[in-house]
Symmetry: C2
Subunit: 250 residues, 2 copies
């Protein structure tokens, strides 16, 4: 994935065919680039927001926090993701956006969303539908945090990351993840402490479900992990038909 290619077009063409006009529009979303080091904030809660962001390279995450320091990561963002839809409903940001590793993001103004509705209905339908899928993924997260044990949570996270990595790489046989997050950050995502994340890793490792070499994790027993985590892949395909005009429609 070079800087010259568009991550957004790459991500979107997994789901729909893209016309030349749409290609022009999507390219415009990635016109501006901002490079980020590790652990840099892009915006913080209560800040005025006028932009959304496309992830071009690297990982980021959105988190919410409590004033006593407790922190909860709500979503991990990968290349091709569009960040900022929820905050369209409010003038000020309700979450914080931070890079997990070195990253490149492309800010674009809110009004381009409106323009996509006017000029690129297919793209608008996909943006909208991807946003609905995000809600389904949040259902999974809510279930994970509310009702699943530490081991199950970690297994779920690894499978989820693997599923997204496979689409980004276009290679469904990948088994290895490089995880650029500390165990404290993983804990903030899974609703656990860093210490317990470490123990959960060891449990999965001792059960021979995963192997670790530094930041690299190999999911050697994908089936067993999926059963443990009650994992269902939400990234395979999505349904935009309901939104597109058809000849039969009154």
């Amino acid at each position: 994935m070079t800087d010259a290619s568009s991550c957004l077009i790459n991500a979107f063409s997994y789901y729909i065919d893209i016309t030349d006009e749409e290609r022009v529009f999507l390219t415009e979303l990635e016109r501006d680039e901002v490079a980020l080091g590790r652990n840099q904030h892009v915006y913080r809660r209560d800040q005025d927001l006028t932009c959304l962001y496309v992830v071009k390279r690297g990982w980021l995450f959105s988190y919410v926090d409590l004033d006593d320091g407790r922190r909860q990561i709500v979503k991990i963002h990968h290349p091709g993701d569009v960040i900022g839809f929820p905050d369209l409903a409010t003038p000020k940001a309700t979450s914080n956006l931070q890079s997990a590793a070195e990253a490149v993001i492309c800010p674009f103004p809110r009004k381009l969303i409106r323009r996509s509705f006017a000029r690129c209905p297919n793209v608008a339908a996909l943006l909208f539908t991807l946003s609905m899928r995000d809600q389904i993924i949040m259902y999974d997260t809510i279930r994970l945090l509310g009702r699943m044990a530490a081991r199950e949570r970690l297994a779920f996270m690894l499978l989820d990351l693997l599923a997204r990595l496979r689409i980004a790489k276009g290679d469904m046989s990948v088994l290895r993840i490089r995880l650029p997050m500390t165990q404290t950050e993983i804990g903030d995502y899974l609703g656990l402490t860093n210490v317990h994340v470490s123990r959960a890793f060891r449990m999965l490792e001792e059960a021979a479900l995963i192997e670790r070499m530094g930041q690299d994790i190999r999911l050697c027993e994908e089936e067993a992990l999926a059963r443990l985590a009650h994992f269902e892949n939400r990234y395979h395909e999505i349904d935009t038909d309901w939104m597109l005009e058809t000849a039969h429609d009154p």
Copy 2:
């Protein structure tokens, strides 16, 4: 709130001014009615879905589950809510919808959403934006489940219900809630067991933050509860401007 009036128009006019044409459209969404008793399922996971639903009366909730019986309620639905947006992204339902008390809902076909985009842009913008706000509310839920203690969770839930009740009643001074859910159901919403919900209730009661008489709960110390729960009201107002065409737009 009589059967003759529209809950949807009532809920929407809290946020935007409604034209006659929009009134006609919204009324159509509530044309068909289905009455439900307590604890009835409307749809279940993996079922084909062709409709969305407007809540006309009563309470319902959506839940997800694990095959060993663990259950997590992801959202409680009140009159004026539109149910089913997330599942637009998938052909089959990913959650289950069940009534919490006697309720009346109005099913309407998915394609009316598409029509609203074509004919009632203000309504479409509001539907879309409300859906984005749902995501912000899910951030709150994720934070609650991942990082908050039992007492805090319960306090948050009560304040959230109160805020929604106040808008539905149009009376911001209400302090009392009638909660038509068992403590097991509350536990399924808060990620706790029924036993621990009972203890959390007693803690709030002994701290004189609430008073209980049967299903009725009075929030006598709203300020203190809000501090305990780190509560922020998400229902006051929302921002649809970003989506509406303006004269200045290219």
